[in-house]
Structures are given as structure tokens and as C-alpha cells.
Symmetry: C2
């Protein structure tokens, strides 16, 4: 086996071969782009992870039904309306979106995936949506990735797309994607969506495995306010247009794909965290020395979701007492006397006890940066997990209290 | 058996007979009262529930050790310093506090309970604390309840005390208590403390049972920011000074005591919620139609801790989509199509679907009150639970980001 290199390349969902996309304004929102269509030139395999919410939106319910079929032709996604808490009528609307895209593209309806994000509890304006799908179908292009990425945004302030090229001796393949999520997980628009394409040929079960791995260490390790949306979805499809042979289980190619996918998802996930309105700090909470990765993750999320810790981040205060209190309340066994905490490379706690005012001042200095790392060593084992979180600011409250006018 | 009446009476921890208290300034804080002593005129039975935090403070560790002894003579509590994350030295300090009070009062040290609240990670100024204990012992009085209640406060803005008198044909007994907790659960002072005295004679195991019941439906059903402190403790003691016979298992007197205790704890708990800095709304989240009380409580806490729901309370917006999303993400099975939601007496959701703009406007009107109820009916069973929560305001963020100067 020769060398395998993973390079960052420009573009997003249309970076892989055989993927076309478009983003249009259909009229759900007053002005901005609000409808995305992504199509694969030939039938692709597909994998997805959906929200664990018991109150899943109509498009999520529909996607879960389609996934066992395992084939992907196109994706239609709208922003501005979540099609959630809309009952049977909402399910019918999601199906109609799939039918409209299937008709416009001449593909089977069970190969068309639907996603929605926006206000909960309102019906979609289906006439506008169907007209928008027809318009988007007529504008599909390999250059349409950026518009497509723009049309899934809600309160996001920036388009989020990224791509990788994996170079093998026998050729190359690409992985590209786009995401939305306002970081601050805004009002009725709490949703995190990500769509990833590859031109490698990956059978659905392997694609599902690779996606699960990638999501576990990336999208499932970011938190802004601990909320779970009715509409969260990460979907990946693989169309084989690179011409490389199908990825086999445990092959170096599959391993390179999995690595590139994780890398890509990590970049998109950090873009989501960084794009919260009001966010002034992006913080990596690294929990190590844990007995298991699951416990490390649970403790990291407890810290990353603690309002007291997050307001201390905002205040640039290395308030380790709040971190200790968060660690104590996660329902995970810890031994306070073994805990060490550092901000960046500045130790502030050793053996569960603070290292004094000078250490804290040095740590506060590190916290003036827009991004920093808080490392917690539990001293119990060798497992670890990194969580990406933000500060909690007055702007978050202002935005979320005032949003729905 | 004759009539039993429960009346609200003035006073707090010293309302029952045979209880004396004092609050003094010993110098942990710059100016305010910071040391409380409460003594029973004769040995009492005792019960307590302590924080579930894995990072429990020194006085908590000490109290857990004493509880099996089951006897109470006095309580010494300080504010301004939590004696948490202080290691072996902190444990020794807590023991010295107990010894100082035992010496000043001439009681066994294992009958003296210690509690602390305040900054995490700093050593107590033991010279000042011991002098304060001697001063407080010299000032103990049946009229000292209010000063004692003042000396346990940290960022609280109001003294929290309450009392009940239970009248039976054969005589009467009292239950009185005090609490601290800033509602917003402030910076390093996140602690909720409550101390309750009764002059009924109640054996420790029965007292523990009654306290557990009372705490479960009151202090464990309030939430401001979902944080659990290193120092949380609720302690009750019963000295029998009413002269009534000892309460027997399953007796009407024990039942009346349990009811009065729950009533008292409920009043103190609501005082804590209402006293958060920046709190503009106190909200009862009532979850009914649940399959079990535990599921109702879990869902209620999920709603009561959701930043999106809490900012909507602040914004006086009957944003039921956020409530539905919170219900979906609690890890408890729900059927969206059976969910009904009302604000006060205004239904806004039925069968999981919104009842329209007019209903929401009427609900928003209700939300302009400082206190209102949100009722969620799951339609799955007959269990229910009420959670008391607050809104999330810009002031919360400001206070918690700026606190430690």
C-alpha cells in the first residue's frame, strides 16, 4: 500500500464529482435564500443520524422510514419553517416535498430526502415550496454548493462548508459538506443540519458506520446551550463517481475515508460553535484521565453546559470552583483529590486544590483569547474526550428573549 | 381522633420551644453577619439530606459521618466561605468548628453539625470563626432566629424563614425553619441550605422519612440554573419540647407533622426561587398525565432548565415550540400527538398542535404576571409533579460573569 494524503480543498457539498446543487428563494422567508436542492448524478448509498428527540419533526420521521432502503438521489431542504409539531398534515407536506423533487428530477421518491429547519408549529406554504423546488431543479449546478449552503441557514451569520481530497496512489476521491446551526441555538431555530457528499463508493452499512464514528467525535461533542432540536440531522451520501473501487471493510481506503469524514465533520462542527450570536469565546473542554470515553464525554458536556462555567468564560475568570462543582454533579464517580485543571498550559488545580492567585491570574490572561482549552485530568484512567463549547453572554439572553416579535 | 389544624405562625427556626439561635459577624465577610449558631435545649433527634455532588465540601463529609449517631445538640453555619475543595485541611477546619461549638455549649462534639456556604477553594479564617462561635454562644436566644437566618445568606437579598403550628386536641407543636439560596444560584455561592426545627418528639428514622418526603416535593423540585452545589444540605431536628408524646409510625400526629414539614419546606423553597438576582418571573411548571411521578419530574426539570424556555419566560412569549422541543429531549417516552399545554387557564397546544395566534396572545397576556403556571398534560397516565423555576435574564449573565472581581 502506498501513501495516502488528506488535503483541505475549497468548496463544499459539490466538491465531490457528480454532485450538483442549488439554493433559491421560494418565499418561506421574506427575502433570504430558503430552499436547497442537492442531487447526485447517479444513485448513491446513504447514511444518516437523526435527532434523539421524542418530538421529531415530520421530515425526520420520513427520513427514518427511507433509510432502510439505503439509496439516495437527492436532498431537498428548506429553512424558515421546521415542519415540526404539525401532525399528520406536516407528514403529508414532507412527502409532497419529496414528490415534487422526485418529479422535477425524474428519480424515485423514496430516494429523495427532505430536511427542514425554522419555526416550530407552523404549516409550510406548499405552493411556494413546490415552485421553489422546480426552480432549484432547473438551476442545479456543480457550482451551486455555496448557494445551497446559504439556503439552509436560519440565524447563522456565516455559510458553513468544507471539503477534503484524499489522494491515493491509484487516484483520489473527495468528501465535501455543508452545515447550519446558529451556535447559540436560536429561538425556534434550534436545528443543527449537516449534509456530506463523497464520490468514493461506500456501501450504506460502511457509510453508516463511518458517519456514526465521525458524528460521535464531532457534532455530538459540541454544545452551546444543551438543547436538542426536533429537526437535527446529519446525512451523508456516496455516489462512487471518483471511479475508485468500492471501499471494502477494514481497507486502507475506508480508513482514509473515515478519517477525512471525521476531519470534515470536526471543521463543520467548530464552525457551528463559533457562529453563535453573542458568542465571544470558543472553548475546548478536554477531559482526560477518565475511566471511559463515555464518562469523559459526560463530564465534558456537564462542564460545557454549566451556566456558571459558561458565564465565567464570558467573564474571563478562571473560576475553577465552578468547574469542580460541575464535575461533582455529573452523576459520574470522580475523586476530587486526583483532579487537575489547566487553562491552556497554565495549571490552576492539582490534587483537587487551587494553586493560588498567581496561577489564576496567568490563566485569566489566557482566557482573553477568543479560543482556549480547559484541560481536566481526572487521574482515574486513560480515556479522554474533547467537547467544544462557548461562553454564555448577555447577548444570548437578549436574542432569545426578544426573537419572536 | 379529634381535629388537627395547621396554622402559619411568625418566626423561623426558633418558633418551636427549646430552640435558641444567634447570628454574628465574625469577619469572614467584610461587614455582614456571617456566623450562625442554633442550639436545642436538650438532645434532639436529627435527619438530613445532603448534596449528591461527588465533590462534596468538608462540612458535608463530616455531617454524613455524624448522621448515623442520630443525635443533635447544635448547628454552626458560616457564610462567605464554602470550605469546599480544601482537602484534609478543610476537613480539620470543619471538625474544629464543631469542637469550638461543643466546648462553648458543653455538648458532645458528635452532636454538633457544621455547614458552610460561600467561595469554593479558600481556607476558613479559623481564629475569627472560633471567636465568632464563642460570641454567638453567649448571645443564644429564643429571639435570635432572624439574625441566625440572616447570617447564613450569601447573595440572597432577603431573609427566608417560616413557621407552622400544628394544633391537636391534646396540645400543639411547632415546626420552624430558615433557608438560604440565591435563586440564581450565584457564582461560587451556589449553595442551598435549609434548617428546620420542631418541638415534637420524632425518632430519627421517622424524621428522616418525613424530611425525605418533604424535600422530594419541594427543595428537589426547584431549579434556577440546574446547578448542584458542593454544599447543599437540608437538616431537621426534633427536640420533643412540646411535651406531646413521641410521634409513632403511621400515627395521625406523624401525618400532621409530615404535612406541616412539607408545607414549610414548600414555602422556603419558593422563597429561594423568588429571590434570584435578575429573576423577573417565578413559574410553576406542572407536568400531569404522566406514567410516573419520576417521569413527570424529569420532564418538568427539563423544561425548567431549558435556556430557550427560560428566555421565552423572560420575553413573556408563549413559545410552546420550545416546550415541545424540551419535552422531546428529556429521554422520557412521550407521544407528541397527546400533548396539551396551557399557560394559566389558556390552552395553547392540543394534540401536539398549536391552537393559533389568538390563544398565544391570550397566553402572553398571562405571562406578564410575575408568577404564572405552565401546565403540560402528557395524556399518558395519572401521575404529576410541579417544578418551580424562573426566567433566564440578562442580569443573571451579568452577575455571574462579573462577580469575582
Amino acid at each position: 500500500m502506498g501513501d495516502i494524503a488528506i488535503a483541505t480543498v475549497t468548496g463544499g457539498i459539490t466538491a465531490p464529482r457528480g454532485v450538483r446543487a442549488a439554493g433559491v428563494h421560494c418565499g418561506i422567508k421574506r427575502q433570504a435564500l430558503d430552499l436547497t436542492l442537492v442531487a447526485s448524478d447517479r444513485p448513491a448509498s446513504v447514511a444518516a443520524t437523526c435527532t434523539t428527540s421524542q418530538v421529531a419533526a415530520a421530515p425526520i420521521l420520513r427520513s427514518r422510514r427511507l433509510l432502510p432502503v439505503g439509496r439516495f438521489a437527492a436532498l431537498v431542504a428548506n429553512s424558515g419553517n421546521a415542519n415540526a409539531c404539525t401532525g399528520e398534515a406536516g407528514l403529508a407536506d414532507a412527502e409532497r416535498m419529496g414528490q415534487a423533487a422526485a418529479a422535477a428530477l425524474g428519480v424515485p421518491v423514496e430516494e429523495v430526502y427532505v430536511a427542514s429547519t425554522g419555526v416550530i408549529g407552523a404549516r409550510l406554504p406548499m405552493g411556494k415550496v413546490e415552485a421553489g423546488i422546480r426552480e432549484a431543479a432547473s438551476r442545479l449546478s456543480p457550482e451551486g454548493g455555496r448557494e445551497a449552503a446559504a439556503a439552509i441557514l436560519t440565524t447563522d451569520t456565516r455559510v458553513k462548508e468544507a471539503a477534503r481530497e484524499v489522494r491515493l496512489p491509484e487516484g483520489s476521491f473527495r468528501v465535501g459538506g455543508m452545515a447550519k446551526g446558529s451556535g447559540m441555538i436560536a429561538p425556534d431555530m434550534a436545528t443543527m443540519l449537516a449534509f456530506v457528499a463523497t464520490d468514493l463508493s461506500v456501501p450504506s452499512p460502511l457509510l453508516q458506520g463511518a458517519l456514526k464514528d465521525a458524528v460521535g467525535g464531532t457534532f455530538n461533542c459540541i454544545t452551546v446551550d444543551g438543547e436538542t432540536s426536533t429537526n437535527d440531522m446529519v446525512l451523508a451520501f456516496a455516489n462512487g463517481r471518483s471511479g475508485l473501487p468500492e471501499a471494502l471493510p477494514a481497507s486502507p481506503v475506508l480508513s482514509a475515508f473515515t478519517q477525512a469524514l471525521g476531519d470534515l465533520c470536526g471543521e463543520l462542527a467548530r464552525m457551528i460553535v463559533a457562529d453563535g450570536e453573542g458568542v465571544t469565546k470558543v472553548v475546548e473542554v478536554r477531559v482526560r484521565g477518565a475511566r471511559s470515553g463515555a464518562e469523559a464525554r459526560r463530564l465534558g458536556l456537564r462542564i460545557g453546559n454549566s451556566p456558571l462555567v459558561k458565564t465565567a468564560f464570558f467573564g474571563q475568570d478562571s473560576n475553577w470552583g465552578r468547574i469542580m462543582a460541575a464535575l461533582g454533579s455529573a452523576g459520574v464517580p470522580v475523586d476530587p483529590a486526583r483532579i487537575a485543571i489547566a487553562v491552556g498550559d497554565v495549571p490552576i488545580v492539582r490534587g483537587g486544590i487551587g494553586l493560588g492567585a498567581e496561577a489564576e491570574r496567568a490563566a485569566n490572561e489566557r482566557m482573553r483569547q477568543p479560543t482556549f482549552t480547559v484541560t481536566v485530568d481526572l487521574g482515574l484512567g486513560s480515556a479522554e474526550c474533547s467537547i467544544w463549547t462557548t461562553d454564555l453572554t448577555e447577548a444570548y439572553v437578549r436574542i432569545n428573549a426578544a426573537y419572536r416579535s
